[in-house]
Symmetry: D2
Subunit: 285 residues, 4 copies
């Protein structure tokens, strides 16, 4: 379903109040807009209203976006994030040595399955330079040690800032980003990590999951936030394992989950399908 006409996507959230859906759709219809999708959610405990709207405006797209933002903020007292369907955002990808998530992101961005352009790749190792360059991408190797971490992060932030990236994807980047980095990063950061039932903090989690004899392994894609050890969860996936699976099988299944979860999380973000609040997400998929 290729749509030629440009669409506006709005993500709205704020204090829930009577008649909000009526007012929003009324505003769009009154200006001749054609609503394609409208999904809303109310957190009744918190009294917050969330909405994702996708519509074809009758008038000039930029002008309609400006007016809608004004309407949302002034009349509705809601926060609004707006984007237009023709916009193809840039992203920065951070990697270390594992290539499974990175390769998958390269292909999906290249094919347009995820509608964004990778503008730069940052790594603390040289290992993935070859793959990155096959896809014609600038690869910045910035080794990180205990000693140089502040300078390394400053360089990373500088590169990200200059690139115009609207999202940073940690595709198995094996360094912990400091609170300083997360505070100063000009774009949201999506991270992927394994997850187990029960949880295994620390080193070699697959070995420990194997020793514990778990029957499920998982992966979690989430926003990285400085105030919490783990930010809002976007996607979680699991796979069944049995005593027949050795540690290598667990790792292989884990890679599959990481690949799928990260790709899905990035796509949802790029398509403006995620709203975050109180350390969690509303996902309009």
């Amino acid at each position: 379903m290729e749509l030629k006409e440009e669409r506006i996507v709005a993500l709205l959230h704020g204090k829930d109040r009577a008649g909000i859906v009526a007012r929003v759709s009324g505003w769009i219809y009154a200006r001749g807009g054609n609503i394609l999708h409208a999904d809303q959610h109310r957190d009744r405990q918190e009294g917050i209203f969330f909405q994702r709207l996708e519509w074809i405006p009758a008038g000039d797209v930029s002008e309609e976006m400006r007016l809608f933002a004004e309407f949302a903020e002034k009349d509705l007292e809601m926060q609004a994030t707006l984007s237009r369907s023709s916009h193809r955002p840039k992203i920065a990808v951070m990697v270390s040595k594992f290539e499974h998530c990175f390769g998958d992101m390269l292909l999906r961005c290249r094919s347009g399955e995820i509608n964004c352009d990778i503008s730069l790749v940052i790594s603390n190792h040289e290992d993935l330079r070859g793959l990155s360059e096959m896809f014609g991408l600038p690869y910045h190797c910035i080794p990180v040690s205990k000693e140089n971490k502040p300078e390394a992060e400053a360089k990373e932030l500088d590169l990200i800032g200059k690139s115009g990236a609207e999202l940073v994807v940690m595709a198995r980047y094996m360094q912990i980003l400091s609170p300083y980095f997360l505070d100063n990063c000009p774009a949201p950061v999506i991270n992927i990590h394994h997850s187990f039932l029960p949880a295994f903090a620390g080193a070699n989690p697959y070995n420990r999951a194997y020793e514990r004899g778990v029957k499920l392994i998982g992966a979690t894609a989430h926003y990285a936030t400085k105030d919490l050890d783990e930010g809002p969860i976007i996607v979680q996936k699991v796979a069944t394992v049995s005593h027949r699976d050795n540690v290598d099988d667990l790792k292989r299944k884990g890679r599959e989950l990481e690949r799928e979860s990260l790709a899905q999380a990035v796509r949802l973000h790029i398509e403006s399908r995620i709203l975050t609040y109180k350390n969690k997400t509303v996902i309009f998929d």
Copy 2:
């Protein structure tokens, strides 16, 4: 596939050594036995061999069982657990107020889907007496408080001992069994509990999972063991959730997972499909 002839099921485990499969199957064939199923596993890290065998013996069943046990222990230096297909074990079920797991167990045992008889029901509440009596089962209400816990557990152990139960099923029994109970219980104990990614210890886990915005909820059926806060895992299941699910939806999906996981774990145990070692399980399903 109704099999008229009686079968022997053996669970074997011990130090792995060359030619063990050959010796076991050789022994059975030499005595005219017909092997129906043979599944084995090696933990190469630990050097342990595991096998489940199901066969129709040519000779007298009891005699063949005795001889095989002797062969396994003396010749193979392996531990062997033997059962015969005509044996329908008794189990004890412990419940509190939730009926979803209990009702499901009642039906599955009654229909023979799980090949055992519930010989008694123990509860710390009166709530499920009616349901229990509909199925013609003796229901023992033993209230438990901080003060009377030792006496209450002694009574429970006495009832379980006299019942001849070969397995105790905690079908959402909401008391923690003491190390004394687990040490003195004449039968293994299977328990079921919810599980989340990340884990939420303490009260109201579904509320906390909701607040955290998890995308998966789970249930884990495991053996209860005194030395560990959580014994060998038998079954784990998960269900996806979204922001559309409120706390009640999470609980409803959780009940479904608990029901299925507990039923599957009990069936696997009753069919002699589980071997435990080093706080984990090998499951020949």
Copy 3:
């Protein structure tokens, strides 16, 4: 979240038009109603609008229902189905010899997990009378043969009509209902059957699936409709199988899927979460 106040649930559908959401929520708010849930869907290809609303009215419940129905039909030109939360509908259950789905329905209706009362059980066999009577339900055995089918169905329809059942659940009832029956049945009919990839029509599908070496088996719960060999699909579930599973394992896994799928489909129907159109369903879960 036990709600004391009575709620109204409305299912609306009809020709999509501008501002419909605004008008519906506006109407409820104007009359002091408090909307708890509102989920909507548009089939853009067909130009149809669907909505499920759940609200606490300010005024008299019956009067508000009457007025809303009038508003929906006259002002909106939409079809509306209304129910109130205090209403606990009656259902009729049809069974043959398999008890897994039936037993599960008995427990879920008894516990209130599915908010309905089984008012009668109809079977073409005597096998499940005992189970039915344990739960205190009237059991009508109406044998069906090629010769007596019209009379048998007439009796069934008569019993269903007199029972006041608002839903008929075929819990593995192994007779095909005639077009006459489906035309004259005063309540919708939900059926459950196995499903495979690829499909195996005819006798012994599990044997044929085993012979074909499928890696998945499934179950489908759907409305039975006379004009089509299979009506609108409500729930589909699958389980993985391997060469390790024999025909009995396939059947056991199939029973599990049938149980879950049927229970979920009946719950969704009873909670007024299903709208059907053009031989398919919109499900507000």
Copy 4:
């Protein structure tokens, strides 16, 4: 777990007989071999025995392989397929215009996740030449029409034959291979296609699945065989869908399933984990 020592993998099958496991493991142990994995299966209905063995031989690998093959065929009267862990087979990939499966195969073969080399790419279109050449692979575009099909297939067979490919992977190659092709292809062929419950033969299956309102979509990876419309099934996967998913969502989810199913099927084949018989598979995973 990187193993330096070379391993032999044997796939055995033939008429089941008493003591076969004992004889096979006995043979290996007698020659000083160290069995790493041994998985077996019996189809009791058909009286066929299957085994996958992986071991480190004490002697010269080639000689041990020759002797084992002789032992299997002469002494056991079984068919044996043998491979060595250091062997990295070549494969041919056939594509049309869709890139999701192809790109995924490119990455997995490049990274060694699937232990094979793509020796050539054949397509009936030019679309994927760029991607293929990024990975340094020879790309042969052979357009196919009704008229030239025999010559086109002859060219394809010639290229495959000369390439030394041991497997042909149809990564969404949208032409039906003729019986002649399948008869004369020097290597087995793995294909991937969508699958639905119920099945939708013919054009635009996703549109028809959408119209039918299915709640699940699936993909099946299988061997292509000339005598049957669909050969032995290797992998089947499904994803849930709802009324919220439009045709494009179904297609996107379908791509995900195709990608994963095909990658898994090819890996299983390359690791010698699949035995086929009577149009089905035994998979030692």
